[in-house]
């Protein structure tokens, strides 16, 4: 059998991938800037404001600084794994963006183009798979450094991510029982057609999910793998230059992706609130509405990014035993209860 090779489709997806990756990198760059600005404003400071107007060139300056730094590979480290670690972190962070529907269809040159790299029917599972690969970046990096602090941090990171992934999965199962589909696109379309965002159906599920998302991204209050005061710097202690940059960057890209996932699963994705997209497309044209939808999704992402930062500059870090306590003794039972209740309600309604 010869597989039909659609050049145009290939080209279209390729362009979309490039755009998404560049956009993710650009947003990540400015998220680092926003983080420092938000930190400043929350702490009654001004934040970076020297490089360029309002300090807008600060991320560029940071980037140049990162690249110019000396590249050090410790003598006693495992060289290949040492290089593999940050790359893995970066790649897995990027890969999740493949199944997120960034917008509705647009019509260009007589073709209908999906603003989603791959609409696979197991989108949610795919995200899970890739995200749990992300922990290898931390593990390998920490282990290859041959430094006890890095190793400790890596172990912490691994056990933390595994513990919270459980609760995250359980909280999602409740949502999936309600939507009946694993495809991100279908989930968004359901929310668009009913007009009710999944958040209002699954508030507890969302709460569990966002807490787990914080833990998965190693963000405060769950940033134990990077606990400066206990582990010096955590798993990227031995790293310098762009390899360190990759780790730091991967964290921000993870944040963006999990914001996108939250927006998609619980807040209607590219659904513009209080607007009937189908009617609007008829009068304004499909393309404009699709762009508006993408902007809406971006706005939701920015909002979640802000929440990430806001929480970081508010809450101190958990102690490690508290973290495990919370994960295993509270989050998982709650997620189970949420799942049971959802199942019961669905059964009762379908009776």
């Amino acid at each position: 059998m010869i597989l039909a090779f659609d050049t145009l489709l290939f080209l279209e997806k390729f362009i979309l991938i490039v755009v998404v990756i560049l956009a993710a990198l650009g947003i990540a760059l400015y998220t680092t800037f926003a983080e420092r600005k938000v930190a400043g404003i929350i702490q009654d400071r001004r934040g970076p404001n020297r490089a360029g107007p309002f300090g807008l060139l600060q991320p560029l300056a940071d980037g140049i600084k990162m690249i110019m730094k000396e590249e050090i590979i410790p003598l006693t480290s495992n060289k290949w794994l040492f290089i593999l670690g940050p790359n893995l972190a970066m790649i897995t962070a990027m890969m999740t963006s493949a199944v997120i529907p960034w917008g509705n269809k647009v019509e260009l040159f007589g073709r209908v183009i999906d603003l989603q790299i791959a609409d696979i029917n197991i989108g949610v599972l795919y995200i899970f798979g890739v995200v749990s690969m992300g922990v290898y970046g931390i593990m390998i990096g920490g282990w290859a450094s041959n430094n006890k602090f890095s190793l400790l941090a890596a172990i912490r990171g691994a056990s933390q991510i595994i513990s919270y992934e459980l609760a995250m999965g359980l909280s999602l199962i409740a949502l999936l029982m309600y939507t009946g589909s694993l495809s991100m696109k279908t989930i968004v379309e359901q929310q668009m057609s009913t007009g009710v965002w999944n958040f209002f159906v699954q508030p507890l599920g969302f709460l569990l999910f966002i807490v787990c998302a914080f833990a998965e991204c190693n963000r405060t209050p769950f940033d134990l793998p990077e606990a400066e005061n206990e582990l010096n710097f955590g798993y990227h202690q031995e790293y310098s230059s762009m390899k360190l940059g990759f780790y730091l960057f991967a964290e921000y890209i993870n944040m963006i992706i999990s914001s996108a996932v939250m927006a998609t699963l619980y807040f209607g994705g590219y659904d513009i609130p209080f607007v009937n997209e189908a009617a609007l497309s008829a009068s304004w044209g499909v393309n404009i509405v699709a762009v508006l939808g993408t902007l809406t999704l971006l706005a939701k992402i920015v909002f979640f990014l802000f929440v990430f930062m806001w929480v970081r500059w508010t809450i101190p870090r958990f102690r490690y035993d508290q973290l495990m306590d919370l994960g295993w003794k509270k989050m998982i039972p709650l997620a189970l209860i949420n799942m049971l209740i959802t199942g019961a309600v669905i059964l009762w309604l379908n009776k």
């Binding site: 404003i41 929350i42 009654d44 404001n49 806001w310 500059w313 508010t314 919370l326």
Partner: protein
Amino acid sequence: MQALTNRVKVLEQKPMTLLERMYLPNIAKGMAITFGHMFKKRPTINYPEQKRPFSPVFRGLHILNRDEEGKERCTACGLCAVACPAEAITMEAAERKTDEEHLYREEKYAARYEINMLRCIFCGLCEEACPKDAIYLTETFAPANYTRQSFIYGKPDLLIPDPKTQPDAFAQAQGKLEAHKANMKAKNEQ
């Protein structure tokens, strides 16, 4: 154990209540506080463009004064060096020659006069000790530098500009540039 003083405070560690164990109400409270801070007035100023005014008694870098005719006032008596608790001042005296009368006010003058700004604690005792009104502390502070050597300020760094040849610089060193300019303008208009 018997208490040694009656100021012992027994720390009561109650187990957390259910509300506290849920974390979320307190987190929400904390987040409200931080959100409120976003709209507070910021005490930070944009430093190099905006400066906080010094208090009138601020003691900064030293200056060696001249009299109205531009002669150096210091007579190298050494009282400042004696008064200095940090032993930051060193000087070498020299005798004034007949053709140098327009340069130095007294017969004896300081050929070398150095203050080590890394030792100096800016107490102002030198200023108080000086019988000739020759040394003053100004409202500037020592700029950062890379070498220790550069913090030893010699006479060229310390001397105030000559009021005759550089009237503007002299007025600025005295912190009276505005008044000086207005004065000059009034003179020119006459």
